[in-house]
Each structure stands twice: as structure tokens, then as C-alpha cells.
Amino acid sequence: MEKSVVITGGAGGGGRLLAQRLLDAGYRVHTVDKNPARLPEAVTHHRVDVRKRGFDDVLRRVRPWGVVHLARLHRLDATSEERHRVNFEGTVHVFEVAVAAGVRKIVFPSRHTIYGALPDQPLFLSEDHPPAAGRTYPEVQDLVAADLYASAQLWKQLDREVVVLRPVNILGPNTENLFCRYLRQRRVFTVAGFDPLYQVLHEEDFVTALRTSLEPGVRGVFNVAGHEPVPLHVVVEQSGALRVPLPESLIGIFGGRLGFARVPKGAVDYLKFACTVDATAFQQATGFAPEISLADTLTSVGQPRT
């Protein structure tokens, strides 16, 4: 019998790509999202909120083999309470319901930003490095908490497989994260006198990493990176944007004006200091390697959606 997988946050760009990829790989695919979705016909879409009772109902009926929990509130203009409710409490709820429904595999994509960008941290952080983002970037506390919760489940749920992925900056035409939005502005500021190393991963390669994580036997917390890092100015210039180095003191004034992106204060550190990861553990566990070249990944952010 073919395995069925439920993707939460399935209406987003990443959810749609993953749904198609899993269909191609022979899975039965269900998506859950509170928004309507434009999905392939073979996918069953359930329009419910993962935090509400309707979600319990979906899992009880579908009895999926695996759950990929993509649903996240990325907008930083949402209140921290709202973000906490979706990103942290939502995650806890998804795990609880999935465990109750006897799901065998839970994949939780976190992100590398939870490590924080600090001047006194080494390059190429391993999975053991404590997530220190909360020290200077309180807006991502919810994501740090969700990551730690999910990572702890790895040791509590010994009779099922839990995978926590911490991918580096995901770029692609269908991806709507803060970094992509920053790069898609007419003018992109960098902090004058700073040019940290950046690692990037194409959205299609990220989907490959998610699909690989569904393979039986894969469990653990893994950094996911594609290529060797490049300095931020290369990322900005390759994306096709006009790069404007601004002194740090002016970023608060110009952010959100004159075609520049608005970036929260804590996120400016990521434009000054490197937050790079060592992704060899995931490569060794799964054989994962990016299919899309570094150059193509860098230019993909400005391309039209598919």
C-alpha cells in the first residue's frame, strides 16, 4: 500500500513543491492549510487551521504514515504573541496530534537562523551548537522554542522517527521568507564595512532534503546546506538587485523607505556577522547533495514564480 503523508502549511510555495515531489515519488498526499490552495489534482486539501480541532479530525480520518510540518507564520510584523501561538503552540499541537494518531515519521523544518549571528561565534556550526539567536533577536524566540521542542521529541518518541532540519537561507522564486523578500527589493542595503559569509539552498534542493528525510531510518537533528558559503555582497549582486552599502546608523531610517526592505533590528546582525553551518552529518546520513548549482541558486530569487 502506498504511504500517505500530510503536509501542514500546504498552501505555501514550499508546500506545493513538496506535494508535487511526493506525488511523483508515489506517496498519497494530503495538505492542510487554513488558506485555499492551488495544488495538483491528486492532492487532497483540507482547509483547516493546524491549531484547531479540525486538524485532529483530519489525522484521525487519514491515519497518515508521515507528517511534514511546514505551517509557519513568517511575517515579522505580526505580534510576537500571534507568532508564538502559530509557530510554537502550533508545533506542539501538531506533534501531540500526530503522536496520538500513530504517525510513524514527523519531519519538522526549523531554520539555521536559530543559532544567531554573533561576532564571537565560530564558522560552520554543528548541530550541537546551542541556539543563541534569542540573545540579540527576540523576534525569533518562538522559532527557537519550537526547534528545541521538536528536537526534544526526537528522544521522547523512540518508537517513531522524528527529523528536525535546520536549512540555511532558502532561495527560490516560490519562497516567501524574510531573506528572499529582502533580496527582491529594488534597492538592497548591506551594512557598510561588513560582508559576512552566507550559505544558500535552492527551494527545489530543500524539497529534496524534505523528501529524503521521509526515507525510513532517517532520524535526528540536521543542518542542511547546499554549497560552500559566499560573501553577502555576492548573494545580493547575483540576485540582480542594486546593492547600496549603508552605515548601520542609517538602516533604521531608510528601512522600509526608498525601495529598501524593512528589516527588524535583530536581523541586522545577520547582515554583519556570519551564521554558517556544518551540514556534513546530513550528507552522511542521507547522501544528500544539492542538484542546483550555486550560481543558479543565487539568481533564482528574482525569477518569476512557477
Partner: protein, 280 residues
């Protein structure tokens, strides 16, 4: 870089001659398609900086290098005394390894954490392959086969030392020895002479330094960051091999560290005896 830097870069590129091209192209750097290696170093930027650094090396400090052929091929940890207030000693040792070693070696110095913060300085350091001195960085580097890493185990105690303490070793930390043992890396002691006279400091001015967020604020008659043209001698010692796991007690490690410290002190003592004058 933005436009004003571009024109600077082009101007400097024209000053890069065959010697520099040849030395840098033979370094064991693996730049990607955009010209940067995985640690952020850039051969093109290294060439531009070498134009200036070679002038300082040959004309300003008139560096004399002794025993550079003792540095073995393959992985190596260079351990030097520290002086000069700013990182001129690191710069000149790295330059010696590029300009005078056969084949040229790219040395990554483990620098003060402080250097990660100031604008532009941090980018320059990164492009030159210098990394802030955190054990994880050093360990990862020493896992590469051809790595040559330079450390100053005195840290800022040595860099910011005052003139009356010149050529006195201010006590080596332990980290370098643990890393050398863990990665089975031979140690080459280095004695750097001239650093104490190029920027003599009479006080660390600790309260002021604290106010400014610096490790020390040297009170010096020279106009910082400009050093006096003291003549520099760099002495490389015989490679030293130690056995161990790197997890030993301090009491086991101390004699090994003292041995390296003694080797550096010996190079300094001999070098000082041989030197004919501070500036000539």
C-alpha cells in the same frame, strides 16, 4: 564592494606584479566560482594587500627571515610570541610564509575576537584568511591536510604588553596544545623580534580601554596605527611533535607547554644576541 572601492581595487590590481601573482597562485587556496574560499579568503584581495605588505616587509621593516625551511610540509601550527600592539607581527609572519617559503604557504592567523566587530577591518581580516581565535575554528582548520595556522598563545596579554616587559613571554594559554594533540599537528616555534620597538607602549590604560570596549588602549609615542621602522627578524625553530589526546589534565599538559614556551624564549634570546641594532 561599492564604487569608490572598485576604483581603488583596479588601481591596486595594476601594481600586482609577477612575483605576487606567482606566489599567490601557488598557494593552497580553493576559491569557488566567485573567487572566495570556504573561509571567506580571496586570492585577488590577497594580491592587492600584498603590494603594500611586501613594501613594508622589504623596505620599511627590512625583515630578515631565519630558518623558514624548518617549517615542514603538510599541516603545521606556528606558535609565536606576541607584541606590536596591532597585528603587525601576524601580518609579517604570514607575509614571510607567502614571499619566502618554498613553496609559498597560506597561513591563517587566529586573531583577537575584537577584530570581528569593527567595520571594514573584519572584512579585510576575513579576505586575508584570518579567523577569530575560537578553538572550533582552529580545530576545523587543522583537520585540513595542508593547513598552516599561526597562533599567539599569549593573546592580548602579549599584544598589549608594555615596553618594560619587552621580549618577556607573558604566559602561554593551553588551547593551542590541546588542539595540536587532538589533530596530531606538529608545532613550529617562532621568535618575532622588532615588534616591541615598532610600537612601544608605556601603559595599557585599562580604564580607558574598558570605556572604549577594547582589550587595551596603548599609550605610545608613535602615531597609531603607524609603527616605527624597527628592523624585524623572524626566527623559525625546529618542528616539535607531542603525543597525547588533548584531554589530559593541566598538570600533564603544562610541561609540554613550557617546552614550547622555552623554545620560543630561546629563539628570542639568540635572536636578540645576534641583532646589531634596533633600527638597523
Amino acid at each position: 564592494m561599492s564604487r569608490p572601492f572598485r576604483s581603488w581595487e583596479t588601481a591596486l590590481d595594476q601594481l600586482v606584479d609577477d612575483e605576487i601573482h606567482d606566489s599567490v597562485d601557488r598557494l593552497d587556496l580553493k576559491p569557488n566560482a566567485f573567487g572566495y574560499d570556504r573561509w571567506g579568503a580571496s586570492p585577488a584581495a590577497a594580491k592587492r594587500v600584498l603590494v603594500l605588505v611586501r613594501w613594508m616587509y622589504e623596505r620599511y621593516f627590512r625583515v630578515e627571515c631565519h630558518g623558514i625551511e624548518r617549517v615542514p610540509v603538510g599541516r603545521v601550527l606556528l606558535v609565536s610570541n606576541h607584541s606590536a600592539q596591532l597585528a603587525y607581527d601576524g601580518m609579517l609572519i604570514c607575509a614571510a610564509m607567502v614571499l619566502r617559503a618554498h613553496p609559498p604557504r597560506f597561513v591563517r592567523a587566529m586573531i583577537e575576537r575584537f577584530f570581528a566587530r569593527p567595520a571594514y577591518v573584519n572584512v579585510l581580516m576575513s579576505r586575508m584568511g584570518q579567523l577569530i581565535g575560537i578553538p572550533e575554528n582552529c580545530r576545523r582548520l587543522l583537520q585540513e591536510d595542508q593547513a598552516a595556522v599561526l597562533v599567539f598563545p599569549e593573546g592580548e596579554r602579549g599584544g598589549g604588553k608594555v615596553f618594560r616587559d619587552r621580549y618577556k613571554i607573558m604566559g602561554f594559554g593551553q588551547g593551542f596544545m590541546r588542539l595540536a594533540l587532538q589533530t596530531k599537528t606538529p608545532i613550529v616555534p617562532v621568535g618575532f623580534i622588532g615588534g616591541e620597538e615598532m610600537c612601544p607602549s608605556f601603559s595599557r590604560m585599562t580604564p580607558l580601554a574598558k570605556l572604549m570596549g577594547l582589550p587595551y588602549a596603548p599609550l605610545t609615542p608613535t602615531l597609531l596605527p603607524l609603527p616605527l621602522p624597527a628592523k624585524v627578524h623572524i626566527h623559525f625553530g625546529e618542528p616539535m611533535h607531542f603525543e597525547g589526546k588533548g584531554t589530559e589534565d593541566d598538570t600533564v599538559l603544562s610541561p609540554m607547554i613550557e617546552e614550547v614556551e622555552g623554545a620560543v624564549a630561546e629563539l628570542l634570546a639568540q635572536g636578540l644576541k645576534q641583532r646589531s641594532g634596533v633600527f638597523f
